[in-house]
């Protein structure tokens, strides 16, 4: 019935002919993108290339000027709020944890709104999601302001996972994190994809995340999207893509990829 029991490799979310325009500025020009069930896809692109707008369009938070987004073949705009909550989990860049609630209450909020579970079960599940995201149970009673940057991301991860979504959207999950914390987040993404079969869409600049975690990479260049595996994109003759994958920073990330694939 859900991602876990369905075959991987068919599109779960498709964007068709998306056009986004702000004033005279054309951000996306008839962009199409298929996200396959069970994959980890990275969305990369320069600053201002419209990554965040694309993410909002995919989520149905932004109505494109033209084109449509289909979730399992249905227009994403027509899906009810409750269904959407069970289908989509989003990790926002700053975490977007509600500052007036504790971490556990943040995780329980979607359950409180969309299920009829008693408090005890909700707390038990919240504790499990915390453990799943790699946080100790004590952090559940803390307020978001008392957490470090890496812990905020993990807590936001736990909240995004609250209703076991089919698709997890991650907006810059490793930005503002030290390399160790960022590596932990990369591992977490892989683990969730492996064991829960969650489809993951990662918007990121982090080359290490793109190379070591993502199966395919969608690069936003010239208002269009180019989707392929990292290896094939490395051989692309588009100048921007070439520079992106062959700059000095990319070399370091490639070494990390070789190292992680080696063991």
């Amino acid at each position: 019935m859900t991602a876990r029991t369905k075959a991987r490799g068919e599109p779960i979310l498709s964007a068709r002919g998306i056009v986004n325009r702000f004033g005279k500025q054309l951000v996306h020009d008839k962009l199409s993108l298929d996200i396959m069930r069970g994959e980890i896809i990275g969305i990369a692109g320069g600053s201002g290339s419209g990554k965040s707008v694309l993410l909002k369009t995919l989520l149905g938070l932004h109505q494109p000027n033209a084109g449509e987004v289909l979730l399992n073949g249905e227009p994403v705009q027509s899906i009810s709020a409750t269904e959407k909550a069970a289908l989509f989990g989003v990790l926002f860049q700053q975490g977007a944890l509600f500052s007036s609630l504790t971490v556990a209450q943040n995780i329980m909020l979607p359950m409180r709104e969309h299920t009829a579970l008693p408090d005890e079960e909700q707390e038990e599940i919240a504790a499990m999601k915390l453990a799943l995201s790699g946080l100790p149970a004590e952090s559940g009673i803390k307020f978001p302001s008392a957490l470090s940057g890496g812990m905020v991301k993990r807590a936001a991860f736990a909240r995004a996972l609250a209703l076991d979504p089919e698709i997890l959207f991650l907006d810059e999950p490793t930005s503002d994190l030290d390399p160790i914390a960022a590596g932990g987040i990369d591992d977490l993404i892989r683990k969730l994809n492996d064991s829960l079969g969650i489809t993951v869409v990662v918007v990121t600049h982090d080359l290490t995340t793109l190379f070591t975690v993502c199966g395919r990479i969608a690069v936003l260049v010239d208002r269009k999207v180019t989707v392929d595996t990292a290896d094939k994109l490395m051989r692309s003759d588009n100048p921007w893509i070439h520079e992106f994958f062959h700059g000095p920073r990319a070399e370091g990330a490639m070494k990390a990829r070789k190292a992680s694939h080696g063991n």
Partner: protein
């Protein structure tokens, strides 16, 4: 890339309520259906008798369709109580292994304090805070006064562009609302005056009541409260946002004194605009009085204007105008002080802005009461 038309029979798009059932008897049971967050409670109720540890029991899962993490957690719990799980699908295996591998601990209880202690703690905190707030305010008033005098003595340190911008923001743009409020207040006082004085045949004195109270008290008070709400809050929010983005620290690093560029121009601008706004409010208050005279007392505007010299003297006007710059100074100082007290987060901008408005309105009213008594004693 190729796009495949999505024409699968998605259950997610047309959700059917998931169901679960328990078959078999004794110690050999089988679950069929979906074990997810929607059926968790039902499943727990069905398997209640197995919630205690025991041996020799088995649960067949080959009939389970969908399973999510809460469902898997429940099964792991059963497994720890000695229930053998059989017939696990390959998909579910990974999930169960993941959950088994987690080190699950319950959420710790939220530390709570008895209510009576909470009250004592709150009183203590409030007293402690009040003392520090008062000390902070006095210190900041002193610092601002010192920097303002310094800037006035060295006019090259003044920033005319910033001052004129703030005069425009706090003064010119406030004219419509201040004028409207003054007319309204005059009408309110006028109506009350007519109603109260008519039984004694003294309704003509309503004009005195309106004119004197607008000139001495209401004009300046209404204007100061309006400006505290409008400009005091915007000072706190503007400086507060700069504080959250480290702009204030950037100024310090560049060797520019924040007091001089952020606080002094705002204080000077408000000390200029509030008396002018008060003057405008006084005039509009008299216009409101004229309206009352016309409609309630049948007195023409010409007669009203001719009565004014008998009703008012210079002292009434002076008393109102004297207070304006003092109120302005405190409103600006409190707004800037709370702006600079913002620390890091965005919510602290909101908190400090609220405090700035509450404190400046409070202080304006307290000072006004003080001045009322003072002028009464001095006989002005």
């Amino acid at each position: 890339m190729t796009s495949v038309p999505a024409d699968n029979e998605s259950a997610a798009a047309t959700p059917a309520k998931s169901t679960i059932a328990l078959t078999g008897d004794g110690d050999q049971l089988a679950l069929t259906g979906d074990l997810d967050i929607g059926t968790l409670i039902e499943a727990k109720a069905l398997l209640k008798k197995w919630s205690k540890p025991g041996a020799g029991r088995a649960l067949d899962l080959s009939g389970v369709g969908d399973m999510d993490t809460p469902g898997a957690m429940f099964l792991c719990g059963l497994n720890k109580h000695g229930v053998e799980l059989t017939g696990i699908h390959a998909d579910h295996r990974a999930l169960l292994d993941l959950l088994n591998g987690l080190d699950l601990e319950p959420l710790p209880p939220v530390p709570s304090v008895p209510r009576w202690r909470e009250i004592v703690i709150q009183i203590g905190k409030a007293a402690h805070d009040a003392r520090h707030e008062a000390a902070d305010l006095i210190t900041f008033v002193g610092r601002t006064a010192s920097w303002t005098v310094d800037a006035l003595l060295h006019p090259s340190c003044l920033r005319p562009a910033a001052i004129s911008r703030h005069v425009s923001e706090t003064g010119i743009k406030a004219l419509p609302i201040v004028g409207l409020m003054a007319v309204m207040i005059a009408i309110v006082i006028g109506y009350q005056g007519v109603a109260q004085l008519r039984p004694y045949g003294g309704e003509d004195f309503t004009i005195n009541l309106v004119a004197v109270s607008v000139m001495r008290e209401m004009g300046v008070l209404i204007t100061a409260i309006m400006v505290a709400g409008r400009s005091g809050s915007s000072f706190a929010a503007e400086i507060g946002v700069m504080q959250t983005r480290d702009e204030v620290d950037a100024l310090k690093v560049m060797g520019i004194e924040p007091m001089l560029v952020l606080v002094v121009p705002r204080v000077i601008a408000l000390v200029i605009t509030l008396p002018l706004l008060t003057f405008f409010a006084d005039l509009m208050g008299l216009v409101g009085g004229a309206a009352i005279a016309q409609f309630q007392l049948g007195m023409s505007p010409t007669q009203y204007v001719l009565r004014m010299p008998q009703v008012l003297d210079g002292g009434d006007f002076f008393v109102g105008m004297f207070k304006a710059p003092i109120f302005a100074f405190f409103i600006a100082v409190i707004g800037c002080m709370h702006g600079l007290r913002v620390t890091g987060s965005a919510e602290s901008v909101g908190r400090e802005t609220t405090r700035a408005v509450v404190k400046s309105i409070f202080l304006v009213i307290v000072l006004d009461a003080f001045f009322s008594i003072l002028f009464e004693k001095l006989g002005i």
